[in-house]
Each structure stands twice: as structure tokens, then as C-alpha cells.
């Protein structure tokens, strides 16, 4: 059985800098997979290649059995592959509820649906998901007025609203108050278990990723260094060296 996401031998360079070299990894459906590595190891570049933000130089990426290398960002998103951003991007001028409603899946939207009012069910679901991430009381505030952490939660909720098959999360706990991190881990697990969303998570926080992921890939200097279960990775000398900077 093939994995939901299959990355085979993907390489990407920017000018003279090799950001990704011959990366291969698989994300089985329903799993939570982690992607770790020191700063500059090419994690976000890999994400950008996956979602079609830029073309990559060689290799292939298959999502749900289909090659997606040549597709545009919008088309890949419509197939159910979404990502959140490291700097957290939401629609700052609109309210949280509006952010949610517009994030609804576009798969069933035809030409004329654009002109209709969004269904009441959409607003209900939006509010339910906002409640899920703990933003229910702030739902009428402008998204731009939220704190960074709250925007991160909103962005996560927006992704859930879209009912993706696979969600790429770029450092979901970065910049979050440590006391709230457990809540995020919990919500990620629930999204995976109850809503059936496969997760591929870039993380710097070792506690979070060890707790969350079933399988972890480690990148360093643009290459795949090691992969395995959290315990295996934790004890892998190569991974330790990469983070501590041994040459």
C-alpha cells in the first residue's frame, strides 16, 4: 500500500546553495510524521516544494498516488494538501469567523456558489472549530488584532475547516507560551485521530515532536540524516551531533 505522500529523491537549489539534496520520505495515511533538523537544514524548503510554492530541481512527489510536481499551489491545495506557515498567515482584515468561513473546502464550489451566502452550517462549523482551538470568545475580533499565538491557533483552525487529507505544519508551537503547548499537542492528536487528518510536522521543540510523532525524519545540511521512531531518533548519535554541531 503506497503512502499518502511519497517524496522520492527531491533536490532543490537556490543559485549556488543546495537547500535539499536527494530527499526521500513517506507519510502513511492517518499517521503523524515529524520532520526535524537544525536551522537551515532545508525543512521549510521541502515544505515549499511539496505544496508547489516553487518548482524543485529533480525527483518526484506523489500525493494520493498522483504526481504533483507540475501543479500550482491552488490545485494542490484543492486536492487536500494544506500547509501552515512559519510566520503564521491569516486574513488580518477579516474577523475570525470570516477567516474560518472562507477557509471552507473549495472542492464543491461552483461558479454560482460564489455569489450566494455561505450556508449557516458553515458558520456553525466555524464556531465549533474556533471553540476547539479555544478562540470562541474572540470569534468576532479582527484576525489582525489577535496576538501571535492566537493567530497561530486561528491558522490551525482554518486548516481544519478545509478538511484536508494531509496537513503540513511548520513549527506549530514556535512562539507559543509554554503553558499552552500541551493544549496544542492535544489538539493536533485529536485532529489526527477524530478528523482523520494526516500530519507532517516540522518542529524544533523536541518534547513536542517526540510526544506527537509516530515516525521522525531528521534533516541536516539539506540531506536526510536519519529516520525512525522517536526513541530511535532520540538515541541516534548522528542526530545528536547535528544539533550540537559536531563536524
Amino acid at each position: 500500500m503506497s503512502a499518502l505522500l511519497e517524496i522520492a529523491g527531491v533536490s532543490k537549489s537556490f543559485g549556488g546553495v543546495v537547500a535539499n539534496r536527494d530527499i526521500s520520505l513517506q507519510v502513511p495515511e492517518g499517521a503523524i510524521v515529524g520532520l526535524i533538523g537544525p536551522n537551515g537544514s532545508g525543512k521549510t524548503t521541502l515544505f515549499n516544494s511539496i505544496v508547489g510554492y516553487h518548482p524543485f530541481d529533480s525527483g518526484g512527489i506523489r500525493f494520493d498516488g498522483h504526481e504533483i510536481a507540475r501543479l500550482r499551489v491552488t490545485d494542490i491545495a484543492r486536492r487536500g494538501l494544506l500547509r501552515t506557515f512559519q510566520q503564521t498567515r491569516v486574513y488580518g482584515g477579516m474577523t475570525c469567523v470570516q477567516n474560518m468561513v472562507i477557509s471552507q473546502s473549495q472542492r464543491d464550489i461552483g461558479w454560482f456558489d460564489l455569489f450566494r451566502q455561505p450556508a449557516a452550517a458553515a458558520t456553525e462549523k466555524a464556531e465549533a472549530l474556533l471553540d476547539f482551538v479555544g478562540l470562541y470568545s474572540k470569534r468576532w475580533l479582527r484576525a489582525g488584532d489577535l496576538s501571535f499565538g492566537q493567530q497561530k491557533l486561528l491558522e490551525f483552525a482554518m486548516a481544519l475547516m478545509n478538511e484536508p487529507r494531509l496537513l503540513l505544519l511548520d513549527e506549530p508551537t514556535a512562539g507559543i507560551n509554554p503553558t499552552l503547548i500541551n493544549g496544542i499537542i492535544d489538539r493536533l492528536k485529536r485532529a489526527n485521530a477524530n478528523m482523520g487528518i494526516t500530519l507532517l510536522v516540522i518542529e524544533h521543540n523536541m518534547r513536542v515532536i517526540m510526544n506527537l510523532a509516530e515516525h521522525i525524519y531528521c534533516l541536516a545540511h539539506g540531506q536526510l540524516l536519519a529516520d525512525g521512531t522517536p526513541d530511535a531518533i532520540r538515541d541516534d548519535q548522528r542526530v545528536i551531533d547535528a544539533y550540537l554541531g559536531a563536524h
Binding site: 505544496v51 510554492y53 500550482r72 499551489v73 491552488t74 491545495a77 484543492r78 494544506l82 500547509r83 506557515f85 498567515r89 491569516v90 486574513y91 488580518g92 482584515g93 477579516m94 474577523t95 470570516q98 468561513v101 472562507i102 477557509s103 473546502s105 473549495q106 472542492r107 464550489i109 456558489d113 460564489l114 455569489f115 450566494r116 451566502q117 455561505p118 470568545s137 474572540k138 470569534r139 468576532w140 475580533l141 479582527r142 482554518m158 478545509n162
Partner: protein, 321 residues
């Protein structure tokens, strides 16, 4: 709710009665509706979607010429010719928006602004050289059949109806999913794409909506003025084309009433300049443009929102229950 209905009712009454209350100013009042149309249609792209276009005038000019050509060549009586002309103007303008859309709307930010500026002026220059539509001399639509002053009255009501229909249509659109799409593109287009929104389709649709109403406006304008000059009327980039932008900004871009307010204030100011400054009115307008852009870019409604946030749409957090 009742107060709002009363306000609308009063506005409707005043609008209907205006040409009879101020019989010497019917043309200027018609122009006021035209200005409102300019500002409203510009704001679809500029205010709601974040695409500042200097080239919307293209659709206005296309509409003006299309209607005049139909009126000239279709061989119909005045009113059938006019209404056919209006229909063709709207369709042609919308078609051009759809065709140009995929190319031009791919440009972002200031490239879009300057690119559309070039489009507007290029259209004027091309029209000035095309003999079929009168080249530099332009076109003269047929004479309005009826008594003196009848034309002004007829077109006043035509523009009034058009402006009201446009306003109501936009209100409906902005309240629905389309409005959310526009705002999403404005706030973060890359995010919208990453979430699967069909941004190209939405952008083109928005431009088509603007083009539709601008085409109708142009068609009417040619008949109101009695002539169509390629550079000064149809594709008047440095005048109408810039005023569109300014009126929306002056009133408060991104709102429904902002462009309307801005159009009213701007038009009255402009008429005063014309009356009292004559040749220098264009210079004064240039100064006004710079002044507004530099010192008052938030516009009237933006300013009101800052000073009276509760009344103008500021949302507060709900107390946790």
C-alpha cells in the same frame, strides 16, 4: 432598523425630486451619479480586493464607443437604439475584462497599478487613431428626441437607477461568499492560493462586474454629454481615471458607503472649483489629489472609524460565559 429605512426613504425621495428642485443643475446632478458609479466600481478591485487599478477607464470608454457605434449603425429609432447600445456596451466591456483579466490581473501591487495606467492611456491613444470610431474627433451620438431639457431629465433618472442597481448588487455580493473571497485576496493573496481559493477566477470575475457597470455608465455618458472624445471623455485617464481612485480613498476605501460619500464630496468640490477657478481648476484638483493622498489616506469613513469605533463596525470580545 426603522431609522435605516427612514434614511433610505429620505435619500430616495431627495434623489427622485432633485432635478425638479434644482432644474439648473440637472447635468451636474447626473454627473454626481456617474461619479458615484466610478467610485463604487473602482472600489470593488481597489478597496475590497486590494488591486489598485488606474485602468478601469478602459471599460467606460469601450462602453461609450460601443453604444455610440450601435446607435450610429444599427439603424434603429432613438430609444431602441439606445437600449441595444447599452446592452452591447455592457457585454463588450465585460468580455474585454474577461479577456484582459488573466494576463493583467496576474500582475501584483504597483506593477498592476502602472500596468493598468498604461492600458488606460494606450486605449485612448489607439482610439484617437481609429477612423471607424471617429479617430481624434470622436463620435457624436444621435440627438435625443423630445423637448429641451428632456434629455437631461431622462439621463438623470437613467444614471440614478444604474447607480442604485449597482449599489444594491454590490451590497449583495459583498455580503456573500464573493465578498469574503475579495477580502481574502486583499489581505493575503498567497494564503488564499495556499488554501485552494480560485484566485484567478475571482479576480477576473471582480473585474468583469466592475466592467459591466462601467460599460453601462460609459454608454449613458456619451449620450448625456452629446459627444465622445477619445482622450478627454472616453479614455480620460488623468481625469476620470484618477478621480475614481481618489473618490474611493476620500470616502474610505473598502466600504460600501465610502465611495458614495467620497464621490459626493469630490464632485461638489470639483464643481465649486470649476465655477470659481476656471482654468486653474485642474491645477487645484491636482493639489487636492496630493493633499488627500498624503494627509488623509484613511478617508472619511476610516477617520470616523478611528474616532467612533463602536458606531462604525469595531468588534469587541465577548465576555466568557
Amino acid at each position: 432598523m426603522n431609522r435605516r429605512l427612514a434614511l433610505y426613504g429620505a435619500a430616495a425621495l431627495v434623489s427622485l425630486a432633485a432635478p425638479h428642485l434644482l432644474p439648473n443643475y440637472v447635468s451636474q446632478l447626473s454627473m454626481l451619479w456617474v461619479m458615484i458609479l466610478f467610485a463604487l466600481t473602482w472600489d470593488i478591485l481597489g478597496g475590497q480586493m486590494g488591486y489598485n487599478s488606474f485602468g478601469n477607464i478602459v471599460f467606460f470608454g469601450v462602453g461609450a464607443y460601443a453604444c455610440a457605434v450601435i446607435q450610429r449603425d444599427a439603424g434603429l429609432a432613438y430609444f431602441p437604439g439606445l437600449f441595444l447600445g447599452l446592452a452591447v456596451a455592457a457585454v463588450l466591456a465585460t468580455l474585454i475584462a474577461a479577456i484582459l483579466g488573466s494576463g493583467i490581473l496576474g500582475l501584483r501591487g504597483h506593477y498592476f497599478a502602472i500596468g493598468t495606467l498604461g492600458l488606460g492611456i494606450a486605449a485612448g491613444e489607439l482610439a484617437s487613431g481609429w477612423d471607424y470610431i471617429g479617430a481624434g474627433s470622436g463620435l457624436v451620438p444621435p440627438l435625443y428626441p423630445g423637448e429641451l431639457g428632456g434629455r437631461e431629465l431622462f439621463f438623470y433618472y437613467l444614471f440614478m437607477v444604474l447607480a442604485v442597481v449597482t449599489f444594491v448588487t454590490l451590497r449583495r455580493l459583498y455580503a456573500g461568499r464573493f465578498g469574503l473571497c475579495l477580502n481574502a485576496i486583499r489581505d493575503d493573496e498567497d494564503k488564499a492560493e495556499a488554501m485552494g481559493l480560485p484566485t484567478t477566477r475571482i479576480k477576473t470575475l471582480a473585474w468583469c462586474v466592475a466592467a459591466f457597470f462601467l460599460g453601462l455608465t460609459g454608454a449613458g455618458m456619451g449620450n448625456l454629454l452629446g459627444f465622445i472624445d477619445p482622450r478627454d471623455v472616453a479614455f480620460a485617464g488623468p481625469t476620470f481615471g484618477v478621480w475614481m481612485v481618489l473618490m474611493a480613498i476620500l470616502g474610505g476605501k473598502g466600504t460600501l458607503w465610502g465611495p458614495v460619500l467620497g464621490a459626493v464630496v469630490f464632485h461638489v468640490t470639483q464643481e465649486l472649483f470649476w465655477t470659481y477657478l476656471l482654468g486653474w481648476q485642474r491645477v487645484a484638483l491636482g493639489l487636492l489629489i496630493v493633499g488627500i493622498v498624503v494627509f488623509f489616506p484613511q478617508g472619511i469613513l476610516g477617520w470616523a472609524r478611528e474616532h467612533w469605533p463602536e458606531r462604525f463596525g469595531h468588534r469587541v470580545e465577548e465576555k466568557a460565559s
